[in-house]
Amino acid sequence: MEKKTLFDKIWDAHVVKSVPSGPDVFFIDKHFIHEVTSPVAFLNLEKRGVGVLHPQRTVGTPDHNVPTVDQDKTIKDKLSRMQVEKLRDNCKKHGIELHDLGSAHHGIVHVIGPELGITQPGMTIVCGDSHTSTHGAFGAIAFGIGTSEVEMVLATQCIMQSKAKKMRITVDGDLGAGVTSKDIILYIIAEISAAGATGYFVEYAGSAIESLSMEARMTICNMSIEMGARGGLIAPDETTFDYLKGKQYAPKGEEWEKAVAYWKSLKTDDGAVFDKEYHFDAADIEPMITYGTNPGMGIKIKGNIPSTEGMEGSNKSSYLKSLDYMGFAPGEAIQGKKVDFVFVGSCTNGRIEDIRSVANYVKGKKKADNITAWIVPGSREVEKMAHEEGLVKILEEAGFELRQPGCSACLAMNDDKIPSGKYAVSTSNRNFEGRQGPGARTMLASPLTVAAVAVKGEICDPREIF
């Protein structure tokens, strides 16, 4: 019998038809929409006179542009307000479930999907957002699409996709103290580069991955796109089933038993072949931080910014342009660099475990005077738990400002912007030029590292006080 990878098994089960010398017609189980990449899709559907084929397979929430203060009031920014209103109108008109601002399950689309149990193993999941790869943590094929494809899913529940090549990244061994799943993924991206997995769909495997919680796995799959991969996934196991059991949209009773039996079959067969494989040892991974303007530009916090030795042509000029933007020089140490802002949040690290990690570190401490510290829960549910567990009190006593759920300063579409020239250490996913505001300088790190930086006021190793 043909040996299949996990990715093959799910992919092949969703091919409606293979177009000769073309892509596959690929069936989508769940579709998430938000206010920024969906309005033009709905508009085009209207122009074509076509409706939504399966409204119950789509779920919406406004997250990208929403303010993170006064969410009970009218959105002040006119364009943002119009996008959110369009999302409301479109969902209402087509009978699509919407988790609106202020409702119990409002939040970042990639946080609420898993939280509600909508995301399940074996599914195909898309959204007009590249961090849709987050849902792969459940053993689903999940990836970001463009607005034309959003329109295709709404109209036909299918898109046209060529099957990606297959990569497996195995991380074995035990993680050291103070090393988190964010460090694993920043390490992998630094090793294979920001374009190292372009054209591939990645399966993460190995004992270090298996030992992670669902939330930690989501952080890893979330950043698959940052090395160019279409998506990343992890085989479902008892950790996955325990997380899903009892969730609002998870199967119940007999259906649950049936589902788990199927989910258990979702793993790569022994002997199945990948187009490319990488192996890493967890013991080599240390707390990581980025120093440049793409997520592949990461180093161990104890390390130095790479020199230009061996670089030439556009490679070297692009590298120097990046360091110039950051205000850094080749060969410098990163520890001790002054920081102005810390941001804890986003679909990468805006879940309850991330907030617990920060609160646990800063308990009884104060943020440094030079730091502005924002903490933005990924969802209302996360916010509620943070209050109930007393984390908000700890964080506020340490000088952190708790804001309301949304994508916030990860992409700075709302007012949560890092000022030009200022340095932010962020738990989010992208350190691109201007990502957190025009001229903002972003360094990516784990929530634990961000907590340590907030207290010390400069780049530091979280293990120093661990």
């Binding site: 920024v36 508009l43 996008q83 372009t198 160019g228 992208r430």
Partner: protein
């Protein structure tokens, strides 16, 4: 929606050799707030093109009148990051019909093909040839022929073949999009769903 047909494009070239140009650079997030598909070209490469006061930065290639054309010659790993199709809308709206690079990010490439901007992947060596030729003579012209799948530097006749799958090629040549195709598969999709249950 349907777009202009793409057959043979002969044009001067705008060179942008920077590597790892992400879609946040092509169109920053704060310009994604429209609910219609018009006007994105004004904000193409916004923060590289204009300073904070909105004055053009004269050292950026789009502000350099020496260079113009419908072909953008880009550095390696072009279009990485966010899946925003707005990046391609901005390129199209500005007037680009073709982007040439030695390496494209996946989602960006798909988005290009879905709205009628042809992504042409060439070897790193040929990219160097093109960059040098454009630098030496900004009026140099490049021909992109989708039918023969060939890109040619007209001044020297040097050329290279590029890949595009047969299905997408037909779409580009006719200005068709995938939705037309998918809507015609209604029965097959229904059948697939029935069988899955």
């Amino acid at each position: 929606m349907a777009y202009d047909k793409f057959n043979v494009l002969t044009s001067t070239v705008v060179p942008l050799p920077n590597e790892n140009v992400d879609t946040d650079q092509i169109i920053p997030a704060r310009f994604l707030k429209a609910t219609e598909r018009e006007g994105f070209g004004d904000n193409l490469f916004r923060d590289w093109r204009y300073d904070v006061e909105g004055n053009p930065k004269m050292d950026f290639v789009l502000n350099d009148s020496t260079y113009s054309g419908k072909i953008l010659l880009a550095g390696r790993n072009f279009g990485s990051g966010s899946s925003r199709e707005h990046a391609v809308w901005a390129l199209y709206d500005y007037g680009f019909r073709c982007v040439v690079s030695s390496f494209f990010a996946d989602i960006f490439k798909n988005n290009c093909l879905n709205i009628g901007v042809l992504p042409v992947t060439i070897s790193a060596e040929f990219a160097e040839v093109l960059f040098s030729a454009v630098e030496a003579d900004p009026n140099t012209k490049v021909e992109v022929d989708i039918d023969t799948q060939k890109i040619t530097l007209l001044s020297t006749g040097q050329s290279e073949s590029f890949d595009i799958n047969a299905y997408k090629k037909e779409n580009m040549k006719n200005g068709f999009d995938d939705i037309d195709y998918l809507l015609n598969l209604k029965e097959e999709i229904e059948e697939f769903e029935k069988e899955r249950k």
